[in-house]
């Protein structure tokens, strides 16, 4: 292969570029990214970056030395708008075309937004520019912040806002936040972190509308309640960035469909990270975005699916001074057992079990036993095609 193009200049795209060079690919390597910034790390955006504990310099994913070594042709601040039917040329929004022998799709996901007109003071948190804007607004002094959505990013944002001295309310439409991820018992434990940390949690009611003129003044809930707000953060999940692939021949369904080796319907096109649905699963986890490129790049260079991913989902979250870690594949009717510590003391290790086997582990402030348990969990055996 003489030219390989990576679309998406973030975590998964950078790991793919590293892997290509590590495997000895010495041809032309182009990385296209629509953000103007070189690759940066997103998890701190809702945590230490938002609370001011970490600066922008700590977000960079690659330093000057590595940038030189990778010898990449960076096309930043330009969006890819299409991939031709054979997957041989990437079309750019500015009219240019990058002809390629191999393509790595790493376009990630974008924050979902609420319908309706945009009001000042309403934010999402996915990009560095989002985080900068929110940080600037929060620096103006104590404010009433309403976070819509109690998922991990919403909870972390709420926690950072409390740490900055704001008055924070989290609104969650479901009876409890994180129910699908953690199940009712552990979701209740994590929900209690809000009250303990100093934020109010409103559950079981959706948002009817945001109100205000040019700037937001509050949130109207589906049950009629009005929550006054100076700042609203919408944390209602992310959607995979596949719109640019609409005219291609790739199969798209909540992500780019790939086999267990991250290979799409075209052998010279692979997909990695938040945008990729690998063997029927689309993860939005940092660790998946860093692990998949190894397999994807191996297969891209081999021209066929020679390796498959054996994922063991893992994610972490930091909120209100608690570190939550989760690994494995929980099913909705698994039972939960606390193995160490207690939920009251805010430090515990819990196992999800089914038929005598541990399917997943959850820890709050127990990193060491968590790692031990995580290492004992079986990785997924690829489903027979």
């Amino acid at each position: 292969m003489r030219t390989i193009t990576v679309v998406g200049a973030s975590l998964a795209g950078l790991y793919a570029a590293r892997e290509l060079r590590a495997r000895g690919y010495d041809g032309r390597l182009v990385i296209i990214g629509d953000e103007p910034h070189p690759p940066y790390d997103r998890p701190p955006l809702s945590k230490d970056f938002l609370s001011g504990k970490a600066g922008e310099d700590q977000l960079a994913l690659c330093d000057d030395e590595e940038t030189d070594e990778l010898a990449v042709e960076w096309l930043l601040g330009v969006r890819a708008r299409g991939l031709d039917a054979r997957g041989r040329s990437v079309l750019l929004e500015d009219g240019r075309t990058v002809v390629s022998d191999g393509v790595v799709i790493a376009t990630g996901a974008s924050a979902r937004r609420l319908p309706g007109p945009s009001l000042a003071g309403v934010h999402t948190l996915r990009t560095l520019d989002d985080a900068r804007a929110l940080r600037t607004e929060l620096a103006a002094g104590p404010q009433r912040v309403v976070v819509i959505g109690g998922g991990f990013i919403g909870a972390e944002t709420a926690s950072s806002c409390v740490a900055l001295g704001h008055d924070v309310t989290v609104v969650e439409a479901a009876p409890l936040p994180l129910l699908p991820q953690l199940g009712p018992d552990m979701a209740a434990v994590c929900a209690a972190l809000h009250a303990r940390g100093g934020a109010e949690l409103v559950t079981g009611t959706g948002v009817a509308a945001l109100y205000g003129d040019a700037s937001v003044r509050g949130v109207e809930l589906a049950d009629g309640r009005l929550l006054p707000a100076d700042v609203v953060v919408v944390g209602i999940g992310a959607a995979p960035n596949t719109a640019w692939l609409a005219g291609s021949t790739l199969a798209l369904d909540d992500g780019v469909l790939c086999d267990d080796g991250c290979v799409t319907g075209l052998a010279q096109v692979v997909a990695v990270g938040d945008v990729a649905r690998v063997g029927a699963v689309r993860a939005e986890h940092w660790t998946s975005a860093t692990e998949q490129p190894r397999v994807a790049v191996g297969n891209l260079l081999a021209g066929r699916t020679a390796e498959t991913v054996r994922p063991l989902p893992y994610f972490w979250s930091d909120q209100y001074g608690s570190r939550i870690q989760f690994a494995g594949r929980r099913r909705h009717d698994d039972t939960v057992r606390i193995l160490e510590g207690s939920t009251e003391e805010g430090s515990f290790l819990a196992a999800y079990e089914r038929e005598g086997h541990t399917t997943a582990v959850l820890a709050v402030n127990r990193p060491r036993p968590f790692t031990r348990m995580r290492r004992g969990l079986p990785a997924a055996v690829p489903a027979a095609a």
């Binding site: 590293r18 330093d63 940092w286």
Partner: protein
């Protein structure tokens, strides 16, 4: 020179965190004692809570691995070394000699 604990209280495979500023992690790697800065050079995690295998410790947050002998990372996401500190065992007590104390700040 900072006393850490009795040698017998740190069996092989175990680690302990010393609350200095910055904190230090002390390991018993199959009988050999090592000390490094406790905070991972990647982000905010305590290496004394990491997974010890031979002379390597794996960070509990994103699995960067560090060589206890040199402090150098052996894989991503860490790209910078952590400092190593000299260790001595006097009369059965482990002591850490912080590098800064010995006049070699790096």
């Amino acid at each position: 020179m900072i006393p850490v604990c009795r040698l017998e209280d740190l069996p092989a495979g175990e680690s302990v965190r010393v609350e200095t500023t910055p904190p230090v992690a002390v390991f018993n790697a199959d009988g050999e004692i090592f000390a490094i800065d406790d905070t991972c050079s990647h982000q905010d995690a305590s290496l004394s809570e990491g997974w010890l295998e031979g002379c390597l410790v794996e960070c509990p947050l994103h699995a960067a691995s560090f060589d206890l002998r040199t402090g150098l990372p052996t894989c991503l996401p860490a790209r910078r070394a952590v400092r190593t500190h000299r260790v001595s065992v006097d009369d059965g007590t482990i002591h850490v000699h912080l590098v800064a104390e010995e006049g070699s700040a790096a």
